[in-house]
């Protein structure tokens, strides 16, 4: 086992770790008392800003900076949404926190709300998390009973209500503005920006959306200080003035073909190799790894040669991946055909595309249909170029969609085909020996003949 002492996951294996009694016995809510007793909202904001905490939901946006985007001296209400719609494939760090240590999350949430002057918090939880739902709801009830929530918390004059909201069971509900739309009772179609949620979010009021793990980190920063947080992780790249660094512990969700899958806490910047070998007990069944997803399927794919990639916010990007994402590492062993991998990925995104923007709605569905055909032994070599063309042209990076779902759909396509093109070509030639060279479009008359 590694030498790093878990912080966020320190208490998850203890008895009744989800109860208030147990949590307080580990020193819980001391941080909240300290904040409410001796700190101003601005102090907390500055503390978090100084810690260099970056959002744990996937995009890695600096949390303190996000809070400062709220309008100054706003008459309120300001809303706080805790994004617990954890639906990135391979990701389960929020679930463990919510199921085993919900009070840590709630304490972080209350502190975050205090810092942003929010009077109402919405805990938007993924529909498919029944145990987490029960545990968090019980924890919220305990907090109300103990005076940590409600009117005039601990006599500080600060009041906060938390509403647990059960998600609408779609991947897109985890997108910041999709979540807000869903919370308001509408289809989770992401909103166009500007206005950004910090200016006009839920119910047209300033809104902060933070991830569950981010809230837990806020609690730890309050307890242990910004310097402690900055002592862990990776310093900013001196050659890149826009790199804010990757500080703090991170929950890595290791799954796929490893001996011991699970959620492990490690300092940011651990490499894929270290994670697999030190935590995951190596690739299973004594096989070799072929590839790994660095942080949720939408981040793309690392080949086994790239496993020395440090898993910090900047690392996977250097190997052509989209980023760290949710730090959900899924290991793929040598027996898995990449065609199957990409087919699975395309299936997910075609299913989850919300259907608002044309390029994503049609692009993901077309890609899936092509992958279906390739898998069915009717692939053509030109399909690979078409898939790459779709991948290169959908998403917010080229500017053709509203939200980043399409980027997430594009990256596995781009990475899998560019990094494993030989395997794809070999598969197509082997399964479609007579037709793999076909390039002609479907005759127009055949299209009209559909009627």
């Amino acid at each position: 086992m590694a030498e790093f002492e878990p912080v966020l996951l320190a208490n998850i294996h203890k008895d009744d770790s989800h109860t208030l009694r147990a949590y307080e016995s580990f020193g819980g809510y001391a941080g909240l008392k300290k904040v409410l007793g001796s700190m101003s909202a601005n102090d907390v904001k500055e503390l978090v800003k100084g810690s260099g905490l970056r959002g744990r939901g996937g995009a890695g946006f600096p949390t303190g900076l996000k809070w400062t985007f709220l309008p100054k001296d706003h008459p309120g209400p300001i809303y706080f949404c805790l994004n617990a719609d954890e639906s990135e494939p391979g990701t389960f760090n929020n679930r463990i926190l919510m199921e085993e240590d919900p009070h840590q999350v709630i304490e972080g949430l209350i502190i975050s709300c205090f810092a942003t002057a929010a009077s109402t918090a919405y805990f938007y939880m993924r529909y498919e998390y029944p145990l987490a739902w029960k545990r968090v709801q019980a924890a919220v009830d305990e907090c109300y009973a103990a005076g940590y929530l409600g009117k005039n918390i601990l006599g500080s004059g600060y009041s906060l209500d938390i509403f647990l909201h059960r998600g609408a069971a779609a991947y897109i509900c985890g997108e910041e503005t999709g979540l807000i739309e869903s919370l308001e009772g509408r289809r989770a179609w992401p909103r166009i920006k500007p206005p950004f949620p910090a200016v006009e979010g839920a119910f047209r009021k300033p809104t902060v959306v933070n991830n569950v793990e981010t809230a837990a980190c806020v609690k730890q920063i309050v307890d242990r200080g910004a310097d402690w947080f900055r002592s862990i992780g990776v310093q900013p790249d001196p050659n890149n003035p826009r790199d804010p660094g990757s500080f703090g512990p991170k929950l890595y969700c290791l799954s796929g073909h490893v001996e011991k899958p699970g959620c492990y806490e490690a300092p940011l910047g651990i490499t894929v190799n270290e994670l697999i070998d030190n935590y995951g007990g190596g690739v299973w069944k004594g096989r070799k790894a072929k590839a790994a997803i660095p942080g949720g399927i939408s981040m793309g794919l690392l080949t086994a040669d790239e496993f020395d990639c440090p898993l910090d916010f900047a690392g996977p990007g250097k190997h052509g991946c989209l980023g760290l994402g949710t730090a959900a590492v899924v290991v793929v062993d040598e027996t898995v055909p990449m065609v199957d991998f990409l087919h699975n990925s395309c299936q997910f995104f075609a299913h989850e595309s919300c259907g608002q923007c044309t390029p994503c709605r049609e692009g993901t569905s077309w890609a899936l249909k092509m992958m279906n055909r390739i898998k069915g032994g009717k692939g053509r070599l030109k399909d690979l170029d078409l898939l790459l063309e779709i991948g290169d042209n959908i998403g917010i990076i080229p500017g053709t969609t509203i939200c980043g779902l399409a980027d997430g759909a594009a990256w596995p396509m781009k990475n899998a085909i560019r990094k494993f093109r030989g395997e794809f070509e070999e598969y197509i030639k082997r399964t479609n020996p007579d037709g793999y060279m076909e390039t002609h479009p479907v005759p127009v008359l055949e299209i009209i003949g559909a009627h």
């Binding site: 779609a170 289809r187 179609w189 166009i192 075609a350 299913h351 989850e352 595309s353 919300c354 259907g355 608002q356 923007c357 044309t358 390029p359 709605r361 049609e362 692009g363 993901t364 569905s365 077309w366 249909k369 055909r373 078409l386 042209n393 917010i396 990076i397 080229p398 500017g399 053709t400 969609t401 509203i402 479009p441 479907v442 127009v444 055949e446 299209i447 009209i448 559909a450 009627h451």
Partner: protein, 535 residues
């Protein structure tokens, strides 16, 4: 003053003017294709057809910095220093991609689609699409279902621009339409048991950029390229929506709203939209007749005006009933004509049909209870010439103690507008001229029956409830045998040549102060006659 740079050309914005990229580009004649954006609806920026490049020009140095990615023109505001580029390789590729995407599941059944010929998907594909189809997928057949009594949905033709959904939420306010399912399985639908049945439902068909929403009244009646479009004004109520009458060979096929920010914006109600059926009603009267020895006998139009003129000139006391369906020019001509014979001729405002209450929609569009287009105009002609307004009821009341030698009644109403008792009261008049489109008790009691025109056949102007005068030309010729009111009065007044409504309006603007604002022409959107009125 704010200056925007579009494709290298400077566009000056007026103070307080808010344009987006599509509108700013239109100022320099650059057409940015779009599906989901509509000036009357909220912006969703989801079709991604209007992608442009944008950047900022530094006001001090003039240096331009462009954004690396494409942005939707509809969502990008034009402010001082904004730069738009609407033609570049990147944009061309993006448009081709969106067109290709939209056609992947589109049935491409243009030969049997009502929208063909006026379809954005078709037009943009010719302009921006690829030459070949790369998706080797066979599209679905176009499933069809009724959304309500007026609109039918061809499910697979839809491009999910959601204009219709936003319309039903933002404009008509009943929110019947919604999107069901997700991703490529999305469809427009209504909730079971709650059909699309608001009074503005027909507008969603105009909004639909493709052939997904079909107007059940118009479906499969005419190919759009055979039709000619004529600017006109709706005669359904006193709102006076600007419309287009679309016809082929003198048969009206549909009415469409015409943009007019002062009156109806982009919309019209279903009552107006489908309220043209009387134009082609087979029971319309089409022959001028007079009472002869053995009942009615036909009269030639060529001799009619001389005959009427002779008979009216012999009459001492004349009354003319001016229908609120007449244009101001027609009302003025008839009034002028009868006053030329009898200086004290009584000018009566015809009955004003009303129905229910004014109905206002969330965005302010109003269907008025007053079901005639020109009460204000005719009223002002009467007041201007006779100084006093005599209403239809006043006139009927005066009939018992006042004798008229001749009464000229104009009708033009869509439905029954009087009963037997009215005919009784007027039956003693020696010369009763009734001009109408449908037979009625009064028609049967007339000494002269003159067929009249309908709104689509008239030339002239209406003044709506808010004193806005809008002029229009005829869209279809009246049925054989019918001479329009304007032409007949023109002849009676012995004016030279063919009826020229503009000449009559010019005369009117000189004669009556109320109409003076219309002197210099009145444009596509009409003119507010109140603008010349003293406060």
């Amino acid at each position: 003053m704010a200056t925007v740079l579009v494709d290298g050309q400077e566009v000056e914005l007026a103070a307080g003017e808010r344009l987006n990229g599509i509108q700013a580009a239109a100022r320099v004649g650059a057409d940015v294709p779009h599906y989901c954006w509509h000036p009357g609806l909220t912006v969703v920026a989801s079709c991604r057809m209007c992608l442009v490049e944008t950047g900022r020009r530094d006001p001090a140095t003039g240096e331009i910095t462009m954004l690396p990615k494409l942005v939707p023109g509809c969502q990008t505001p034009a402010t001082d220093g904004t730069v738009f580029v609407t033609k570049s390789e990147k944009i061309t590729a993006a448009r081709a991609m969106v067109e290709e995407d939209l056609l992947i599941r589109h049935p491409i059944d243009c030969p049997i689609c009502d929208k063909a010929g006026e379809c954005s998907l078709q037009d943009y594909h010719f302009e921006h699409g690829r030459e070949e189809r790369r998706a080797d997928l066979k599209p679905f057949t176009s499933r069809r279902r009724e959304l309500g009594d007026t609109v039918t949905l061809f499910v697979d033709r839809c491009v999910m621009c959601t204009r219709c959904v936003r319309f039903s939420r933002e404009i008509s306010g009943d929110a019947e339409l919604m999107v069901v399912n997700r991703g490529a399985h999305e469809e427009i639908d209504v909730f079971p048991g709650f059909p699309l049945d608001n009074k503005m439902s027909g507008n969603v068909v105009d909004l639909c950029p493709v052939g997904a929403l079909g107007d059940r009244d118009f479906l499969y009646k005419q190919r759009v390229w055979f039709m000619k479009s004529h600017d006109n004004v709706c005669a359904g109520c006193s709102t006076g929506c600007s419309i287009k009458v679309e016809e082929n060979q003198d048969k009206v096929y549909r009415l469409k709203p015409r943009e007019n920010p002062h009156v109806n914006q982009w919309w019209m109600c279903d009552e107006g939209r489908y309220g043209w059926k009387h134009v082609h009603d087979p029971s319309r009267v089409t022959l001028p007749r007079r009472v002869g020895k053995d009942g009615f006998e036909n009269v030639e139009w060529s001799t009619l005006s001389g005959e009427l003129d002779a008979k009216l000139s012999a009459s001492k006391r004349i009354a003319a009933v001016l229908s609120p369906h007449l244009t101001v020019e027609e009302a003025y001509q008839l009034a002028k004509y009868v006053r030329g014979i009898d200086e004290q001729a009584l000018l009566v405002l015809g009955p004003i049909p009303t129905e229910g209450q004014d109905e206002t929609f969330p965005n302010g569009f109003t269907i008025r209870a007053e079901k005639c287009p020109n009460r204000r105009g005719v009223e002002e002609v009467i007041v201007g010439l006779a100084k006093a307004l005599v209403t239809w009821d006043d006139f009927l009341g005066r009939l018992s103690d006042e004798a008229f030698d001749a009464v000229w009644v104009t009708g033009g109403y869509k439905s029954n507008w009087h009963d037997e008792s009215v005919a009784q009261k007027l039956s003693s008049v020696p010369l009763l001229i009734v001009q109408d489109s449908f037979a009625s008790p009064l028609w049967d009691a007339a000494t002269y029956q003159l067929p009249s025109a309908t709104f689509a056949e008239r030339d002239g102007s209406y003044v709506n409830h808010a004193d806005r005068l809008q002029s229009f030309k005829w869209a279809v010729r009246p049925p054989a045998g019918v001479t329009t009111e304007g032409q007949l009065y023109w002849r009676l007044l012995k004016s030279p040549g063919l009826y020229n409504s503009r000449a009559v309006l010019d005369e009117l603007t000189r004669e009556l102060l109320y109409f003076s604002a219309a002197a210099g022409g009145n444009g596509d959107c009409g003119i507010d006659l109140k603008s010349n009125r003293l406060a």
